[in-house]
Symmetry: C2
Subunit: 230 residues, 2 copies
């Protein structure tokens, strides 16, 4: 493995942490956040297929407007702005900071649907920006994952072979998209979700980023030992 590529929303950062902001202003914050997130992703697919790209900030706002209507919620503009800004203050999953430290020897980059501004703010707010060599956004190619053009951004940046790039994502569409593109894919399945059935399986299923670090340590350990035998 030469480099690691990380998805952001749901992989490094817990979208569920939006619930904290929602619960003060609505009765069903968990269902609302799940619905908002599902619609946000659905809109990335629709916009991409229609060939009418809008950035992730815009799509997140569209999905918010839809979800508010669906839940019969009227929230003043100021409140809506606060909900959108909460995407820049998501909590990283508990093990992320330490696990990234354990993966220091690899070139580490981000490849996300997020707009450049959203990603920059989120990484700055959580102090994780120093962990990454580059932050790549699909905004550069104006089409969302799982389009091959999106994964091509990482390949172009890293200048190595596809299978030497380890790709980590918690999102089903991203796992199949990255694997179809030819990356070595780790599905970060924290919740014990069911694997998708497109006939495209990840190379490994892990429960956390820590497990990836352990897997890679074992692997490089084996390679070193093997090497010392000759």
């Amino acid at each position: 493995m030469k480099a690691l590529v990380f998805d952001v929303y749901g992989t490094l950062f817990d979208v569920g942490s939006l619930v904290d902001v929602c619960q003060a202003i609505m009765p069903e914050p968990e269902a609302f956040v799940a619905s908002w997130r599902a619609k946000q992703l659905e809109y990335t697919f629709w916009h991409s297929l229609m060939g009418q790209y809008e950035d992730f900030q815009q799509i997140t706002a569209e999905a918010l407007r839809y979800t508010l209507k669906r839940y019969h919620l009227t929230i003043p503009e100021e409140g809506q702005r606060r909900l959108l800004e909460a995407w820049s203050n998501l909590q990283p999953y508990p093990e992320v900071r330490m696990a990234l430290g354990r993966l220091k020897r690899y070139q580490r980059v981000i490849l996300s649907n997020g707009s450049p501004v959203m990603l920059e703010t989120l990484l700055n707010n959580t102090g994780l920006q120093t962990e990454f060599d580059a932050v790549l956004s699909v905004d550069a190619v104006k089409i969302y994952k799982p389009a091959p053009q999106a994964y091509g951004l990482a390949l172009q940046h890293l200048r190595t072979t596809r299978e030497e790039i380890g790709f980590l994502s918690a999102n089903g569409f991203d796992v199949v998209g990255a694997k179809a593109f030819g990356f070595t894919v780790y599905w970060v399945n924290r919740t014990g979700a069911v694997m998708d059935e497109l006939g495209i399986a990840p190379d490994a299923v892990v429960r956390s980023l820590d497990e990836v670090a352990t897997l890679l340590q074992e692997k490089s350990g084996r390679v070193t030992e093997g090497g010392s035998c000759f």
Copy 2:
């Protein structure tokens, strides 16, 4: 209006009628069918964006395998085959047959995600095939709605202007896709669903196909009356 283009699943035919087949073999047939349908659509988006088209029969089977796992159901192959075949025996919505009769003066074609075989069997089984001048499947362009190539099939077939084509669909992605393409779009919203928020609105929202027939009659009546004034 020169011609009418109809979506199939959820618009002419009730996907909910799959519940009849499911309820004998599982405890939560409604939730299962809703989940199967949602996954089926999601897979059309993923396959299309990945540039790895599979036909709708194949995608429906993939979505079934996923949904069975998700609901912890083990159903023998014969039972799974019966579930897939049920897509060829969906019930048309109650008003569809009569409403299509009222719309006879227009050229009427189908434009569907369904594979040619699925569509042929469904229309033959329900005796609705004689109502349509043509049955167009996205299989001809190997990409699913809402990609413009899919809507292009109808335009190419009908050889009229985009806005002279009335497009009827119950599905949100299809409504925005067809409208973005330039058709005159009727959103058949039987359930009082919330409108999507991509900044693309249909030309009319109706509760049933009957309402479209009435709208078009009124319109052509007005045009005739208007004409007689001069």
